[in-house]
Amino acid sequence: MSYPVEQNEKFAAYAHPERLVSTEWLAAAIDNGAVASGQLIVVESDEDVLLYETGHIPGAVKIDWHTDLNDEVTRDYVDGAAFAELAASKGISRDSTVVIYGDKSNWWAAYALWVFTLFGHQDVRLLDGGRDKWIAEGRELTKEKPAPARGEYPVVERDDAPIRAFKEDVLAHLGKPLIDVRSPEEYTGQRTHMPAYPEEGALRGGHIPTAASIPWARAAAADGTYRSREELDALYLGEAGLSEGDDVVAYCRIGERSSHTWFALKYLLGFESVRNYDGSWTEWGNAVRVPIVKGAERGSFPVAVGV
């Protein structure tokens, strides 16, 4: 059973307001017993694997992006059986309303939401502002781990094609809009890794030809919430040059920051066809003979020979 969606002025301007909830709304839902009764499942998904244990939103369960959602051997996500088991163990059923939040302006929360969407989970929402906003507002945290009643989750085959792009898809996509959400230093090729993340480097620096550089954080306000519809329009339709109806691919380094942008394009601006290229720069920057552009210019495709 879907839990009622939040109505407010900011969200109403977005294409899919039902995909976001505010901290006020969640606090009220908790007070109303929606989480305790299992009508609403709250999931915390952080970069830091121990952060949940230091205190979390009352009733929230933890899903670790790396150990729970990634396959341990292949660079891929878990399969339908593993996802069904994970969801059921967290008290999530196929028709549950799930609200996800996390650290670092919801990078990993958006990433988890994207993985839920690969499995076609219908009602999954993001807590606008994430963990940091909840804490900044002095809202309640607990170290008590809930023991949810097991959910009923069927084994659903992952459907990657609509929202996930592989390297071959990106090669076929060249000429259509791409959004590079990494830092300007990574985009130009000055760096092959994100500041402070050198271990995830690549052999080549630069960006995919024609990609617009819109670092992910520009979609977020200072308090970690998504910027208003008007601001996002200016950023993606104005600066990046997207047009309504465009088929868009977003990428970063491993697909987590671009999940944040994917969410903005898909649900806040309403682009029908937006795919996240999770191979991202750690694949493209190490791949043999794929085209790369260095410097601040977007470059063109086909890439001019001899340049």
């Binding site: 830091d48 694997v49 121990l50 500041p195 402070a196 995830e200």
Partner: protein
Amino acid sequence: MMTTQALPSALAAIVDDFQALSEPERLQLLLEFSQGLPDLPERLKDHPELLEQVVECQSPLFLTIETEPGGGPSGTVRLYFKAPAEAPTTRGFAGVLHEGLDGLSAEDILSVPDDMPELLGLTRAITPLRMRGMTAMLGRIKRKVAASSAVRS
């Protein structure tokens, strides 16, 4: 196969503790180390320039070392770390290294194998990516200790 016998005794004891536990309990122990990491002394608190950032850590981690006389010909090495409360995994690693290495001689610290963090049995639960931060932290400490004892000798 590396054994804990090659490690300074305090560090060996920590490794033994981790190895005796199940994986979820190891995470809990790491969390306890994160809580036990001492604050910086007052004289370092207002001087961020005296600390160096270990950029390999996924969260901001700063450290420095100082050498005090006593304990042996080369003196004893004191370790100081700074990491935010929102980065418990990074703090936990710092806590392990602090408890295991603080107050030892430069020779003892330099004798710690570079891949010591692997002995904690956290690689699967923490993921190899996150373990690299700890390896980098140990590497930075050893480089600083080596540089400092080279200057003194």
